[in-house]
């Protein structure tokens, strides 16, 4: 257990790590605290820094006398997230108008990535070689995920899906029909995943003149 004083409130565990299921949509984290000071402390403001987090403080009780305890509950909407996600909530006490919060609560969430596309973008040089290129698709979760449909936003690219192991491994072979002009294709893979955020996977095909050269 990590104890942390946010000025006058002592939080039992201000930094938490959660390993969530792939289909998680919301995670609720509780941050219990106790007023260890000799005066009442008011929680005057919270800033989750993200519309995906809602914060509740002990059923609406904001002022804590010495020795009193409470809980800050944070509900995280994780429907768009996968991989490792770090979230922070700033808490201000006693109507402080300081720019920085008196206490920062942290939550790190690990959500399994069920399907990987490598690379995510295929690129061809403008007026260069028009040879087909391949995206390797791997299902890394325990359950198979079938790719049921593939479509591309541009007729400049022809995608072809090859099944290596149904539900586990695929190859997406993309052939440009014309590399004489720049183009962008958005390739969408529609799967049978029961998890909404994994239902559509997306890759890109690009024809352009060289890569952008970042300035030093």
């Amino acid at each position: 257990m990590t104890l942390c004083h946010g000025q006058n409130l002592e939080f039992e565990n201000p930094s938490q790590v959660v390993h969530a299921a792939a289909d998680v949509t919301t995670i609720t984290a509780e941050f219990p605290f106790t007023n260890r000071s000799e005066k009442a402390v008011k929680i005057s403001k919270s800033d989750p820094g993200c519309s995906c987090i809602s914060v509740r403080i002990s059923d609406g009780k904001f002022t804590y006398k010495p020795g009193e305890s409470g809980v800050i509950k944070a509900e995280f909407d994780m429907s768009q997230f996968s991989g490792t996600v770090d979230k922070m909530i700033g808490i201000w006490f006693d109507d402080s108008n300081a720019e920085l919060p008196n206490q920062v609560l942290k939550l790190q969430v690990h959500i399994p990535v069920l399907m990987t596309l490598e690379p995510k973008t295929l690129q061809w040089e403008l007026a260069g070689d028009a040879a087909a290129k391949t995206i390797e698709i791997t299902v890394s979760g325990p359950d198979p995920i079938l790719i049921e449909q593939v479509n591309c936003s541009s007729a400049q690219f022809v995608p072809e899906l090859k099944t290596i192991e149904a539900g586990k491994r695929y190859q997406l072979v993309v052939t440009p029909t014309d590399v004489a002009k720049p183009g962008i294709g958005v390739i969408r893979l529609h799967t049978n995943s029961q998890i909404p955020k994994h239902r559509v996977q997306q890759a890109f095909a690009v024809i352009r003149k060289g890569n952008p050269a970042p300035a030093p």
């Binding site: 800033d47 820094g49 993200c50 519309s51 995906c52 909407d77 429907s79 768009q80 997230f81 991989g83 996600v85 770090d86 979230k87 922070m88 700033g90 720019e99 919060p101 920062v104 690379p119 995510k120 973008t121 690129q123 936003s153 962008i184 958005v186 969408r188 955020k197 559509v200 997306q202 890109f204 690009v206 352009r208 890569n211 952008p212 050269a213 970042p214 300035a215």
Partner: protein, 151 residues
């Protein structure tokens, strides 16, 4: 008694000096200061961005805030569950192809959203140099770079 009087005298002098300073120089500055030595990997200070290098600005805050006071010319790319994540990514790609350097900002607090969007951009493999702006929108606002700001 003598010691108490001395303490009281010192307190009075300190209070007078503090009050005088406050009225002459104003309240303490709360302007965000970006220290390059404190940057995390992938972060950049606003004053480190060369004015003559074209940048793509990405606003990682909510759509409402982006529309209200976002950086002029910026595009929206956030992880808001109410947004269509695939469409947002697809709409960003043509912009990313045109700009070698990308800077993402979120709120003034170290909200972490910028870094998550940066990871998504790097995963596209388009060759962009991607940074999260230290200080986020607050730094831009104080520099007078966002809609409605008044430095």
């Amino acid at each position: 008694m003598n010691a108490l009087a001395q303490y009281a005298g010192l307190f009075g002098i300190s209070a007078l000096a503090g009050t005088t300073t406050f009225f002459i120089t104003g309240p303490p500055s709360r302007v965000f200061v970006c220290n390059p030595s404190e940057l995390k990997a992938g972060e950049i200070c606003l004053n480190q961005l060369a004015a003559d290098v074209p940048l793509l600005w990405i606003d990682a805050r909510t759509r409402v805030l982006w529309q209200k006071n976002g950086m002029p010319g910026s595009i929206l790319w956030n992880l808001d569950p109410t947004e269509d994540a695939a469409s947002m990514e697809a709409e960003a790609v043509p912009h990313l192809l045109n700009y070698p350097r990308v800077v993402i900002y979120c709120d003034d607090l170290d909200c972490g959203l910028s870094e998550q969007v940066a990871q998504k951009i790097r995963a596209l493999g388009l060759g962009n140099q991607v940074f999260a702006l230290r200080g986020g929108w607050r730094a831009l606002n104080e520099a007078g770079r966002v809609r409605g700001s008044n430095p």
